[in-house]
Assembly symmetry: D3
Homo-oligomer: 247 residues x 6
């Protein structure tokens, strides 16, 4: 149930029985020689929508540009500064809280967002904690990385083992191929499994990971894998959302 | 050509001959009893993509939540504060400028964004103007409201006359029906043509425009109108983009 | 009635029957070879004061430095970044709102301010809209460009036709000459009517408009024109203020 | 020499031999039962202009609204938050620095501005100090309180002794009467000399100083005093500016 | 080697051979009925100093107030908002980078800091990544939680098992007792092992964890444990610092 | 009574009879060839603690990095930008105010902090003044420079006369030697008494004061002087705190 495809009167009715909403957040950044720049936003969006459908939850528009400063050495990558992304998350949550939403469940497709979005939740809470707003309903926010759900981890271990890596992974590439089969492509990559390591700013990242991948062999991905991973992610997210919102 | 569906190497090649990019910006806000909350983001996104296809330009991810504080009296509406939206536009433009993009063409679906996005352009320019960065390539940003293109204005005048109004208009409703035919619905509205007037904050807006519409009769929309308006918008935006980028 | 020339007890009495205030906003920027750097602030200030006198409204101190980043290629031009000007407008309005003022009518002398000041109004409203402050009196802000009032437009069309242009116009130059006759000067300009076009940052502006003018021939101005235009502006602004405040 | 009354070409010439500019800063706040709300801005503006005339220095537009949060208990008082005023001072200085100005001399009319404007200078310097911009010309800012010049202090001691006080002082009231003789008024005040003490926020201030004055008897002021004080201030500021700029 | 106890000439010499620095960061917040409010700052400070001594690294002053909004329901707890803490970390790192430091190793004593400090690192990197500052030396920041070092984890598992919990843990309490033996105290707590769970803002936290502890039994701590844990932490941090800085 | 060494239940009890707290603030910056980089933080911290002990007041953790942009030309110096320090002071005060503290007494060890911290107080007050929060208890903040207390001034005059100077003074050096006798060192300095003068940014400071001192001869300091000055400072601060808090 996409919020974008509903009317305000529909939302008014929804709020009579529910106060939770799912918010997909991704990134717009290089994903190696064959991965899509939109991988993290497209996957989190479609998994959030799939889960929302399953549990009858509204799904807000996707935050498509996340915190990806380290990818700026590769053309097409975009970032919000952490301070900007904090403001975005805050404004979105407070807009929805104004209507009576109290549970904000972010489905995340990008590791680089974790710290900043978690800090954004604290920014929201801090305003309330510092002002002692005990007369307002409590707001709760959660961030879940779809690629870390039990089902997805099981599959990626089974299908790719140590070639899963941590950026431009065959798992995420496979899901995008399931969703956008017209984008499937294979390219020889050298080395087959990309190096691993850490990074700081964009110059540093590109120096260490010249084709953009970290620890992965995306050529292992298949459309059929993508379908299985996608479905596992949707099922896990749906289940987790329901139990979280019920707490 | 959606940036999200390309690889970084594709963008690297693109930048060898082109430096322009199209960025859709919309809003997530009530659009009357039958209009979709995502109207402004969905229409600008699809029109931008249509135009991008026509002219071979990359289209960035959509800014789906815009400046819509005045709609917060209606459930489901979301806003970024102007100061937040300015930061978002700045970070997106500067990310892309880092790679060599120099022309940023925003296709806008929401009147409430105009002032803030224009101010954001000035914020970007001001940083450069104050530091006298004469050794950097000049950046140029443009904002175009698709509903004000000549073709669209002609059609809406012909099809709806004074019942077009200015919010939850039959034109924009028609375009969403063309794009999402499963969302078509009609409801009796009273008065048939909504009142017109001005507004300040959300309380004021809802007081003046109780069902969310301003000056419009969205029940006049049809799917077939939507197709014509959409195509006119795409053609106009494509043509305008090409001439702007060529300047 | 300049606020600056009153006592706090006078204002206390004023607020017993009125809640509106006029706030002049201009700019400090080049106005071509003969126009004054203070043109936009001086004209909006004097027109606001004239109108305030006519209708018995208080007039706040002038915001003399506005958003003029594009003029920074010319010595003496000053700007506030949009984000700074938004903060200024917000603080001024909220200071006055604290005392019971609820209607804030900005008389503007500079096109470059329009987007930013409009965004500032939304910033003010957004804070209230997001917090659902329904127990507070509604604040309303309006921005009016004196050079676009019906009377002024009629005169400029009659006196200058297409040589009015859009920056360093004979109209605004004439008004400053009426107010500061000691500054009258003529200089040959080449071409007589300046080029028109668009601009981005300060480098771009100066490249396109080498002597600062856009589309205008300020040598057509006379002191006597200035008197007529000034009086038309005062009358229009006074009338418009009264009808706006009465709504 | 008001910057506002000059052309950009005049400023271009000025910068060939001089790099200093005078910037008046005041406040818009209650000044007791008879003092003008604009006292601090009007006096600093006129003293700055007088001094600028004497020494041939350009005088920028006045910052008329300063940091006066403590006066907000009295109608008509306005404030910028310190963070806003810091941004304003920064943008004004950096705008002028872009053209080649390097010495910024603020003539201040309000004690409440001192800390914030001094912090603003540090904010400007800090950006440069943190980035090690050793290739740029050094910027220097100074803040001078006109009421603390030797000549003014001598006169106020002679004329008012301990009834000078520290807010709504007879000295500043006298200067405004000299400049705006139509505003002269006397009112009985109780006690004749206002109490002294400290204050925190606006509630606290009004509680401690019910009619707005601190330690002063403004009824001692005369137009003739105002003339003498004004002239002493202009002479002192002019002399100090010249020696500071020459360093 | 505390930076605070050195001269600038000492630091100048140090930078001839080293570019790393250790920065302790903690928090000021309740730690249950017997734990010290300064636990996180005191432990990280002393462990950082111990490690600095071992490896000959400078140790900067401690950031004693961190991100602890969730503890504000308990008297004495203090927080910086995430946006404030990001600015603090940024300014401290950039100050030191100005002198030639390039490796910034934060020893952290508080879980609530992790997201925000990590976001701060990205904020620092993002400024550089967006501006393509390839001519500057690369800066690298690391955050290490002392309580998660191998040695400390081994000890806490051995000494406390599942009674370690996650806030007001016997481990951290023991370390403070080792450092400040005069503060040792035991109090009966009910239940002996505190509940576990999640939390949002301060009201929510206090509701769920009425005496402040999460999952822990701090009465298990002893001074002698504290000594062992402290020494394990110092050894682990020293070793990790050396290997990180050498990379 | 260090807040860091207390429990939340201790603070809860404290607040039943007292609402004041002492907050030390210093700086981390060069103090000449022999002075410690931590001088200002170490002295204000220890003097605050000594005074707190005397009067039974809680002492918050020290703000060790202050506003010291002008010292960044010397290795090891650190600064917060004024805007950052304002946010820090605000968050710390509002955190404590949440618990019921209403009197915030800052013991300052660094002249460069005065303007910014005073502006921070106004920022705190301004938020309250602009919102007319008359239903909340009044907050009051004070800043006291320990080196300006009567007792300290008397001693420094007696011991050092005009060789006291204003940066890297024998007084402050002596106090650090009393507190950290292991850091005592003498070095020949040329000239014996450093030059005096003003400064702007870090380049300017270092140009004018090549070894970091201003107007001082720190070689006059002795450990025994330090003890006397420290005790005078503690006594003066204690007395002043008590009388201020009692007002």
């Amino acid at each position: 149930m996409q919020l974008q495809l509903k009317t305000w009167q529909f939302v008014e009715d929804y709020l009579k029985t529910k106060t939770g909403i799912i918010i997909p957040i991704g990134s717009t950044e290089q994903h190696g020689p064959t991965g899509l720049i939109g991988t993290d936003a497209l996957t989190s969006e479609m998994i959030a929508r799939g889960a929302g459908e399953k549990v009858g939850a509204l799904v807000a528009p996707t935050i498509a540009v996340g915190m990806a400063q380290h990818h700026l050495g590769f053309p097409g990558s975009m970032t919000l500064k952490p301070s900007t992304l904090i403001a975005v998350v805050r404004d979105m949550v407070l807009s929805l809280a104004r209507h009576g939403f109290t549970r904000f469940y972010f489905v995340n497709g990008h590791g680089g967002n974790i710290a900043t979005v978690t800090a954004a939740f604290s920014e929201i809470y801090a305003e309330r904690s510092m002002e002692k707003l005990s007369n307002q309903p409590s707001l709760k926010c959660a961030l879940r990385n779809w690629w870390e759900s039990a089902g997805v981890k099981g599959l990626s271990r089974e299908l790719y083992g140590s070639a899963e890596g941590s950026h431009a992974t065959p798992s995420e590439v496979a899901v995008t191929w399931h969703l956008y089969p017209e984008t499937v492509q294979q390219k020889p990559m050298e080395p087959r499994i990309a190096p691993t390591g850490s990074f700081a700013d964009a110059e540093d990242y590109r120096r260490n990971f010249p084709d953009g991948r970290i620890g992965s062999d995306p050529n292992l991905a298949t459309v059929e894998h993508g379908k299985r991973i996608y479905e596992a992610a949707v099922a896990d997210v749906a289940r987790d959302y329901e139990s979280w919102v019920a707490r």
